[in-house]
């Protein structure tokens, strides 16, 4: 099975949205999908997070007004419908002072960068 690996470090609405679109569509299209969450993307996946992500520009603002699928739901569908694996970065969790019980239940076990790079080897890799 072809591999698609997605690294998300941005906390912007547009980038989270597109990363979620790519993860969900790839996962249901016979790709083996691995997502790695770090930096400013990580706080959205903590259980304590509330509200949406800030927009960068016009498209993000338009998406707020229209019935665009919620990015968190798309990530969850990537896991439930397409068996994607979404890994929180263990470094980001350490910095935030949170543990695996403090993040969304559909996430996989926390992962380090070295392991992620091994998993991504030989496949497509996308960053947002």
């Amino acid at each position: 099975m072809s591999k698609v690996s997605i690294i998300i470090t941005s906390g912007s609405r547009e980038k989270l949205q597109f990363a979620a679109m790519m993860a969900s569509v790839a996962a249901v299209s016979a790709y083996e999908v691995t997502v790695f969450l770090s930096m400013n993307a990580m706080p959205y996946f903590a259980n304590t997070h509330e509200g949406g992500a800030p927009t960068e520009g016009e498209l993000g603002r338009l998406m707020e007004e229209k019935n665009v699928p919620d990015f968190m739901e798309l990530f969850e569908q990537a896991v439930e419908l397409g068996d994607a694996k979404i890994y929180p970065c263990s470094m980001a969790m350490d910095v935030m002072g949170i543990h695996k019980d403090d993040v969304k239940p559909f996430l996989a076990e926390p992962l380090g960068l070295t392991k992620f790079m091994s998993m991504a080897e030989g496949g497509q890799c996308w960053s947002f």
């Binding site: 679109m21 969900s24 569509v25 249901v28 299209s29 665009v68 699928p69 569908q77 419908l81 397409g82």
Partner: protein, 76 residues
């Protein structure tokens, strides 16, 4: 006798109609059909691509006003 169910995904945007179709396909039997209603032209074009890629069967796509009707038969 095969059945056809309707998935009303009007008003949502890519990849909403596709994801609703996939959730629906998991719940039907091989040989049954789903008819997706979409007002998103990109999704109407994209769903047949997905159907070909994963090996289901596209029965047909029609447009009525601003609504696309994409009919898919579960093949496996």
């Amino acid at each position: 006798m095969s059945e056809r169910k309707i998935i009303d995904a009007r008003g949502t945007y890519c990849p909403g109609p596709l994801m609703e179709l996939i959730a629906g396909i998991k719940q039907i039997e091989v040989g049954d059909e789903l008819e997706v209603l979409s007002t998103d032209e990109g999704s109407a074009n994209d769903i047949p691509e997905w159907v070909n890629k994963v090996g289901h069967e596209l029965v047909g796509t029609t447009q009525e006003g601003d609504v696309w009707h994409v009919v898919v038969r579960k093949a496996k």
